[in-house]
Symmetry: C2
Subunit: 257 residues, 2 copies
């Protein structure tokens, strides 16, 4: 049985092809057309696997762009897909912290991939990848370097939670000659504090998986672990949790038929 999950996020589109216990993936920028991004991701995935659309038994779409995909068999919310994908990546994970380019979510699961409760922020750029992007631009750095640049640095205090006010703080810290690595560490802590507050309102996780684009940032992961008093785990495949969960759910749907 071959299934595909496609997660069309605001910045990147992820597609996973699941065949038995083996899976492969494709990641590409969403650009301005979620529909095109989804179609191209599927095509690339099939090409690499040497398969045709007809070889795939079921396709589940997820992510904010899922409604724009005409070729999927079903659309399922990100929350459900993420919970299932997290369980597949890290068995027994009971809290998923997903921080993407424009939003952040915390999902509490039953440890078997089913959603128990969740909280989401997509109203305020603070505590999302967007905060990091704005700060990276202010620092003249690329957002993907931030985790590396601040390694081991003592964080400087960033007092504003607001992205706009924090950006001004960062610019004035730079002007005062404060080292970039300390400023970046402060930025990471600010994001972590904000997300930890959201997580703590929901409950305590025993096994916490960190997903979404920001999970690749080691600095944020470390401060998140400190804030929550428990190791927060990011896996290399963290970013694929949604797409993988969608592919797993596609298989479950077929199995129930």
């Amino acid at each position: 049985m071959i299934t595909v999950g496609i997660d069309v996020g605001s910045i990147t589109t992820k597609a996973v092809l699941l065949n038995g216990s083996a899976w492969r993936s494709v990641i590409r920028p969403t650009g301005c057309s979620p529909r095109e991004a989804g179609r191209e991701a599927l095509e690339e995935l099939l090409n690499r696997a040497g398969l045709a659309r007809g070889d795939v038994d079921f396709i589940v779409g997820t992510g904010y762009g899922r409604v724009s995909l005409p070729f999927i068999d079903r659309a399922i919310t990100e929350i459900t897909c993420h919970a299932r994908g997290a369980h597949h990546l890290l068995e027994g994970a009971d809290m998923v912290i997903d921080v993407g380019g424009q939003d952040s979510k915390v999902i509490i699961t039953d440890g078997k991939g089913n959603v128990v409760n969740f909280a989401m922020n997509d109203k305020c750029a603070a505590g999302t990848g967007r905060f990091l992007q704005v700060m990276a631009a202010a620092l003249g750095a690329d957002v993907s370097e931030l985790g590396e640049l601040s390694r081991g640095a003592e964080p400087v205090q960033i007092s504003s939670m607001c992205t706009v006010f924090a950006e001004s703080e960062v610019i004035s810290l730079l002007a005062q000659g404060v080292g970039k690595e300390r400023i970046i560490a402060g930025i990471h802590r600010s994001v972590a504090v904000r997300i930890a507050a959201m997580a703590e309102r929901l409950g305590k996780g025993e096994l916490i998986l960190f997903t979404g684009g920001v999970a690749r940032n080691e600095g944020v992961r470390e401060f998140l672990s400190r804030e929550l008093g428990r190791e927060v785990i990011a896996l290399p495949e963290s970013q694929l949790a949604g797409a993988l969960g969608a592919a797993v759910l596609a298989r479950e749907i077929l199995n129930r038929k």
Copy 2:
């Protein structure tokens, strides 16, 4: 009896010299030293009036920079000064909406210049002058032109309250060819909606005075009136309410002695 009020705000420093029922004022940029800005504003005010420091009976400082002024006789919070200044500018005003460069406040008074209740936002850039500045930059306009540029235009819907997300919306509206005047009107409405929500949580005003730097923006004032269902009044001297209130309070202090 001659008194002076100095209001050191985040962007501009205002000073008012009150002599009987006559008063004169000075406005200058705060720059990076609130202390210097306050000293220079006082000097300029005294020079223009042909007076020396010794001729002034009492000086009250207010605004966020009031703590940095060594030459004042007393520091009083902005809220108290604003309420008093508003009453002096518009007798009987019972609601003051003050929107500055980095914060916004709504003050309910007893109609005689005394504070009954207030609410303040200095945590989130949305609903402050900062929101307008960010949008002006995205539009390649000067923040002072916005009110004029959108005159009579039908506002476009800006769906994000967050400054950062709204900025992206504005950029994409521009790319879609939506007219600047409609976008700017949408921006003004967004600011007004946010501030009106804060005002309505506090109560209803009968006579509403709009103060702070943003009160000069006619677009915001109009949408604020529509949202509150009552004419919101901005006076040319609106920006001076804090400094004027400080000078009035200085006189009251002397009168009580």
